[in-house]
Assembly symmetry: C2
Homo-oligomer: 242 residues x 2
Amino acid sequence: MKKLFVVGIGPGAYEEMTLRAVRTLQQCQVIVGYTVYVDLIREHFADKEFLTTPMRQETERCRLALKAAEEGRLTAMICSGDAGVYGMAGVLLELAAAYHQVEIEVVPGVTAAVSGAAVLGAPLMHDFAVISLSDLMTPWERIEQRLRAAAAADFIICLYNPCSKKRSDYLRRACEILLEYRESGNLCGYVSNIGREGMCSKICTLEELMEAKTDMFTTVFVGNSDTKAVNGNLVTPRGYLL
Amino acid sequence: MKKLFVVGIGPGAYEEMTLRAVRTLQQCQVIVGYTVYVDLIREHFADKEFLTTPMRQETERCRLALKAAEEGRLTAMICSGDAGVYGMAGVLLELAAAYHQVEIEVVPGVTAAVSGAAVLGAPLMHDFAVISLSDLMTPWERIEQRLRAAAAADFIICLYNPCSKKRSDYLRRACEILLEYRESGNLCGYVSNIGREGMCSKICTLEELMEAKTDMFTTVFVGNSDTKAVNGNLVTPRGYLL
């Protein structure tokens, strides 16, 4: 069998990769990925052949990787964060069913929920829900249903893809839904460009979150009813007797 | 200010640590942790001073670390997986408020939801909820409410702490609740000892999950209504046109 690795590179900084991810990329001949993420790691793997496709060409990117692997070149497809959380691992496994000589190995990485939480403090210390606000492939009604369920059951909520050029008001719409269940002072936070140049983070209330300037590189956190600010950190207590 | 690092070491294998976690531990003089996790990494950091406490002595462990840091020794507290997901980052940030000379830095790691998913394939490709079945510090009613909310809104569900010696039937009780909302054939999977000696994983139905033998080192995944098996992998499609 020929191996095709799908590797989560973490939030972007080289040092946030796992040793396993680094060693996997070092041993490969070909690295395939979205242009932006390939540029984040290119300098550290300068001797590799890089194949890139722009956004929205995910299945084409997977086929590029599968073909390279089938031709006998040891290949890795990279994803930001973790390959299995809104990444390419799923579609790659599905497409690979037609490539009988190629076996997929998923190399996990630090997803934005985890790396963003570390920047803010410790908001994810209790049960949490991860929801993407992108309705490119998910009907908005389903997203709304999940926001309502998570808000009502007092989950900490982590929002991926809070907005894009075409969806500039989605975070506001999500906040309006959450405010039906939560106090306006419910503590929240968001982090942009986690572990990369231009990283910035902010702690705010749910009401203030409605007006937050976010982009597709922002991860948003909505605390639960216990979440509080401790010395400038967003912390959800787990219940230890202190 | 004196720094105290709280470091997620990932699922357990040395190579699943991030470069940043490795470098952080290398530069520290003292490493503090739960005995089992310290033993996982001890050989790679043989020149360090190790301070350990057994399970259930989490706040004492935090105070050990804070004291070592306050005394001027560069110190890291380690957690399995990520420090911010049911880890020590939260309680450490709370306790640190009384140690004015000590500043906490959270170094994120690969949490079991992510590392376990990679072993099974790609179950977490869509919105998911992470729920701990431990009722040591959370009333069971709240856990049950979250199970119901996540099941009804078709989240993929990842269960931490599915059982322990004292809670041997909790996974069964959780499955009974989920079966009120989900088909008995709903695909699931579980992984024990992720990335460590004795790792094993299994894909099964929700009905079969009721009888699964799990322990405190098992992570459980309950797929959503789209989750399927592809060549022996558990995959939740995200909606790409293939």
